[in-house]
């Protein structure tokens, strides 16, 4: 338990630095920004209590917000995503799984894992961009931002999963 917490904190710091220093600076075609810290939240063990999920999401969000000068926006979106994660994960949990597991492409199968993470990320981006762009009130750029950013982040989900998938086989 303790070593797990330490591992989580170490991953948290590394992911947060990578996020704010590298990934937050990339705006693909002016629309898509990948928030790779979501991968951390998606891959928390199934039985992580909702309360600690919420706190992880909120803390991650607020750190990214502070560095990006967008107070509250990431925090609100990530907290909401963490709140919605449990019911979404329950949809894809089948009987062959151990009681407590970390969601990945091995135990959920690729299809289910991608839909599960895609749904979580879509919820996150919907809230994020609605909060960020609602003053402008233009629906087309909003949809482009949500769609392209979701796809861009999914790319990183697939890449990380591909790496750990191969490692598990070898």
């Amino acid at each position: 338990m303790t070593s797990n917490t330490f591992k989580n904190i170490r991953n948290f710091i590394m992911l947060a630095l990578a996020q704010v220093l590298v990934f937050s600076q990339i705006h693909l075609f002016g629309y898509a920004t990948a928030y790779i810290y979501l991968i951390f939240l998606i891959k928390l063990p199934r039985h992580t209590s909702i309360n600690s999920m919420l706190l992880w999401g909120f803390t991650f969000g607020i750190v990214v917000d502070i560095f990006g000068n967008t107070p509250g926006i990431n925090a609100a979106a990530a907290t909401a995503m963490c709140f919605a994660r449990k019911p979404i994960l329950a949809m894809f949990t089948h009987k062959g799984l151990p009681d407590d597991f970390i969601p990945n492409a091995n135990n959920l199968k690729w299809g289910s894992y991608l839909i599960y993470s895609g749904l979580c990320i879509l919820i996150f981006y919907c809230i994020l961009f609605i909060l960020e762009l609602f003053t402008v009130g233009n629906i087309i750029p909003l949809l482009i931002c949500i769609g392209s950013s979701t796809l861009f982040t999914m790319l990183f989900v697939i890449v990380t999963e591909g790496f750990s998938h191969n490692k598990a086989k070898a």
Binding site: L17, V20, L21, H27, G30, T33, S49, I50, N51, L54, L55, F58, G61, I62, D65, I66, F67, G68, N69, T70, P71, G72, I73, A75, A76, T79, A80, F83, L131, E132, L133, T135, V136, P141
Partner: protein, 284 residues
């Protein structure tokens, strides 16, 4: 009673969820109005120091361009100084000739300049911000003007001890008081949120004659900037048939994607001017 308590305990995650979302929204909405809240922006000391470290590393890569720009700016300053010296000499001569009974008072406006370096910058949002590496300890405070050798960048939005957050022209909340060079009608410049090269003026007086290529400069009325700092040039001019104002599209001189070294301008007389203007508002 017991069942209510049970209900509360069972659904405690709902309360945590609502509390956390509540905090997020308070931050989101208070950021726009409460100017003291530097703690939750990249002007706080931890974020500022990390950004400044990374920017130190990145700074070496464009030293060459920066140097050329500085040389160019130096050259212009020398030219200006020469021109002013010449002008001063002429005025002195004419003053001697006129032998007037009063002596000219030096201007009360005390602008002072400070240099700073950009350590974080965004251009892809609707409300962009720039973080610079000087703050209150270097006499930088709220509402001071920020510009570089090409033109106006923005105004200081919040300042912590060692860092400051600048609201650039590329922020939908920014409004800059300016005028067309060689003309005294003032107008205000706003950005519409998508194109980082252009901003808009939509309150040009109808009676003025403006055309493509006219240069837009700061008005100097707001006491944030001295008058005459370049902002951009008019690239499109639209005459309105219905309202009293014409509008213009302005190409900004500053390339916001490459800003690095900037000047911050403070004004000694600003407090006095502000206090005077506010006292009038209060009386009304």
């Amino acid at each position: 009673m017991q069942s209510i308590l049970n209900f509360l305990v069972k659904h405690n995650h709902w309360f945590l969820f609502i509390i956390l979302e509540g905090i997020s929204f308070v931050l989101l909405f208070s950021f726009n109005s409460y100017h003291g809240a530097t703690m939750f922006t990249s002007a706080n000391s931890v974020a500022g120091n990390i950004y400044s470290f990374v920017s130190d590393i990145g700074g070496y890569f464009n030293l060459k361009d920066e140097n050329e720009a500085l040389l160019e700016h130096n050259r212009e300053l020398i030219c200006q100084a020469n021109a002013m010296r010449e002008e001063l000499r002429q005025y002195k001569d004419s003053a001697l000739l006129a032998n007037s009974s009063y002596t000219m008072q030096p201007s009360k406006e005390g602008f002072y300049f400070n240099t700073a370096k950009v350590i974080n910058n965004s251009i892809n949002r609707v409300n962009n911000f720039v973080t610079i590496n000087k703050g209150k300890n270097d006499n930088i405070g709220q509402d001071m003007g920020v510009f570089n050798e090409k033109g106006v960048i923005g105004t200081v939005y919040q300042a912590s001890d060692n860092f400051a957050l600048v609201m650039p022209l590329l922020n939908s909340k920014m409004q800059l008081s300016c005028r067309i060079k060689d003309d005294n009608n003032f107008c205000s410049l706003k950005w519409n949120g998508d194109d980082i090269l252009h901003a808009y003026i939509d309150d040009l007086p109808r009676h003025g004659e403006f055309k493509k290529g006219d240069v837009v400069v700061t008005s100097g009325f707001s006491s944030t900037f001295p008058t005459g700092i370049p902002v951009g040039e008019i690239v499109e001019f639209t005459e309105s048939s219905t309202s009293n104002f014409n509008s213009a599209k302005v190409r900004l001189f500053v390339d916001f994607s490459t800003i690095d070294n900037v000047f911050v301008v403070g004004n000694d007389g600003k407090e006095e001017q502000k206090a005077l203007e506010e006292s009038i508002t209060e009386e009304q």
